[in-house]
Amino acid sequence: MSILIQIAYLIASILFIIGIKMLGRTNTARKGNFLSSIGMFIAIFATVIQVEAVTLIDILICVIIGSAIGLIIAYKVQMTKVPEMVALFNGFGGLASLAVALADFWLNTQEKGLIVDQITGISVAISILIGGVTFTGSMIAYMKLNGKVSGKAITFTGQHLINLILLIASIVVTIFALNDFSNPMFMIVLAILSLVIGVLVVIPIGGADMPVVISLLNSYSGMAACATGFVLNNNVLIVAGALVGASGIILTQIMCKAMNRSLVNVLLGGFGQTTGGANQVDGSEITVKEVGVEEAAQIFDSVSSLIIVPGYGMAVAQAQHAIRELSELCEKRNINVRFAIHPVAGRMPGHMNVLLAEANISYDKLIEMDEINDDFANTDLVFVVGANDVVNPAAKTNPDSPIFGMPVLNVEKAQTVIVTKRSMGKGYAGIENELFGADNCLMLFGDAKQTITKLVGELKEL
């Protein structure tokens, strides 16, 4: 019997690998996700058939409750809210790993009165620590993303010192726990410490750094599952956990590279708060040229190539459908319309792509930064919707700028740039955007969705 279960776990692992592989290509992605879910089902089924018949009903109840919650969230949530939902699910996974490790430890040491070996003990401690950090860290990320907590970086003096002390305390508590398995207090204290660390680690990280944080927390949830695999001596947990842990790390790296910052720099947090001095140097206020909707429509009418640059502001204003209308209208007029996607635009990797896909925009029109950056110079019009720091030329020209060195879209090279924006508010980095003062840049103030809808109306009349 046991060998059949092992084989089932092996098949599940293979399906996870193939599933992730297929998730990496647009034409096979959906099938890949399906295969991976079949793998999950096989793993669950193989586990359920070995449990006592009487506990089956408890398991079924829990699964039904969990599935109902999961399905409601997954189908009700607006596409602009995907980042926070991924954070939420991620947090649940982390807490589940913590609870499983603690449950196994409790069963063996307290209820059966056994002594667990050191390797298992350390695995339990790692599971609890990573699981706890994943849980509260993801919850803070979730609250920051949906505005329940300020998206700004929350910093205070001695923050890093406190984190360090808590980490050392966790290690000390773990050592105590390993030396006295009969006393469960140590593992409970470790769990509490991990929850506190999770909160403290994520609060200093600001909203626009969330792509990095979510990737990293995703990786942590995999590592937590992996550590739980060591506790239970279970291969499928280790394989699946390691796959997710590794893929999360890679995505984190990609995000960091896109912002030209090291992971340490992101994690230490407080970006954009301490840089006030450096920007005041030139002292000159940027003067911008405003444009009205009618005039903007006339510009759109006169061009033959257009690149739309979406940013987080598009998600906030839910402007993706209005943008679809605009792009269709332009295409009818034989304007070549493309979208330039900066890797960290939005609040999670690929956030803009999902929103534009939701609005039914073909994905071959969405061009990556590296591929489109040389094309701006021979483009008539660039339309920036709710993006700021990712189009700031200061990243290329001003060594004093906090975002200096970050790869940005060369929108200023286009003949005309129209920026739609709610106000002259600064971007996430809290710095002036030199683009807005450029000679070829026009500002179209207003809510992105309303403005673009009006623009579409004007264009139709021309």
Partner: protein, 95 residues
């Protein structure tokens, strides 16, 4: 756990991590969000551990209740994760 079985588990960890690194390296940015949400669902594999933890007959046992909480949470993670990913991928169309 014996040292030998620990080493075998470490082998699995190292090889699976390597596969994970290789698989993700070439994914186009378009798919980063579904990929993250899909791999997030896979990390719900801890559901297997939760089911094992639930397999205790004594309702007075702390471990049983921890297991049941873990099972609900992990199921939300797994089912919600896969459903959300599928919903997103359904939208990716080329015209």
């Amino acid at each position: 756990m014996t040292a030998e079985s620990f080493i075998i588990l470490l082998y699995i960890l190292v090889l699976a991590s390597y596969v994970g690194f290789e698989l993700i390296n070439k994914v186009p940015p378009t798919l980063h969000t579904p990929l993250m949400s899909g791999s997030n669902a896979i990390s719900g594999i801890t559901i297997v551990g939760a089911i094992i933890a639930c397999n205790v007959l004594d309702y007075g046992a702390t471990s049983k209740w921890l297991g049941m909480i873990a099972l609900i949470l992990a199921t939300v993670n797994v089912v919600g994760g896969y459903a959300l990913t599928d919903r997103m991928l359904k939208m990716f169309k080329k015209k």
